[in-house]
Amino acid sequence: MTNQPNPQNRPAELLDMIQKIDFALVETILYLDAYPDNRQALVFYHKLLTERTRLAEQYEKNVGPLTATANRSTASWNWTKAPWPWELAANC
């Protein structure tokens, strides 16, 4: 992967990177459902998954939870604080 996450990544850039890598994962998973014995696809899947895990950790640490069980704060409930994905503000 060429896009390395770093502390300078703005939340929108980080989200964009996650959306792109998740798209590649969706494509690879659908392909593997039909061709489960394809080694090349399986290797690619693991490469994507490693990067995805890293990006998601960075996003959840610096921006907010992607899933309700990823709320890291013991002081406050962050799941409902940011704009929801269908709002224009969440996409800019």
């Binding site: 989200l15 996650i18 959306q19 459902d33 039909a34 899933t67 309700a68 799941w79 994905p85």
Partner: protein, 202 residues
């Protein structure tokens, strides 16, 4: 079960309200070939699908269709978020507004509320997979038709993404049909009900 991820599969950034476009794009939410019908069709077809790989395709495509339902919902929401009463009054959207305000309600472009017939579960491997292949093509045609009506690049962008996914899903359902045929009893030349008949014999 499902877990919600707090992001769209593809971004929706619509800066200009447009009630005319909302009136037609709503068909891909609750119309005959929309994303609601697609997601529930595949997720409900899984139970009678004897092949685990094909059940996997139905699960994963069905789940992706839920993400597409959300993208269409986001498009409709952003197209109608800042409408003035004047804009509504002079548009075709006035009829929808009367019943649903700017809520997102599943109906076709002609105003017909969502019809569960779109789910189309026959409980037969070959009937269901052929249904799915046709459904992906019909949804692709609907997106092509919408692209002819859309004059705002902010709206065309996510619609093009959704159109491309119909093309890819058609390919994967083509794989599924081939897997089903390869695994059918070679004496079952006419591909008749392999999901139910073996059980009846036992």
């Amino acid at each position: 079960m499902w877990i919600y991820e707090r992001k769209l599969q593809y971004p929706v950034r619509i800066r200009r309200s447009n009630p005319r476009l909302a009136s037609v794009i709503i068909s891909q939410l609750g119309g005959p070939d929309g994303e609601l019908g697609a997601s529930m069709r595949y997720l409900n077809q899984r139970y009678s699908m004897p092949n685990r790989n094909i059940a996997g395709i139905l699960t994963d495509v069905g789940t992706e269709e839920l993400a597409h339902l959300e993208i269409v919902g986001a498009i409709l929401h952003q197209l109608t978020a800042n409408l003035s009463e004047e804009e509504i009054a002079k548009s075709f959207f006035a009829a929808y507004f009367t019943d649903h305000t700017v809520g997102v309600y599943p109906q076709g472009a002609d105003g017909t509320p969502f019809n569960a017939r779109a789910f189309a579960v026959k409980g037969d491997v070959f009937a269901d997979l052929n249904e799915d292949l046709a459904a992906e093509q019909k949804a692709r045609v609907t997106y092509d038709n919408l692209l002819r009506l859309i004059d705002d690049p902010d709206v065309a962008d996510p619609i093009r993404f959704l159109r491309e996914r119909e093309v890819v899903h058609y390919q994967r359902f083509g794989d599924a049909l081939r897997i089903a045929q390869d695994n059918a009893d070679c004496k079952n030349f006419y591909a008749i009900n392999p999901a139910f008949d073996p059980r009846r014999k036992g």
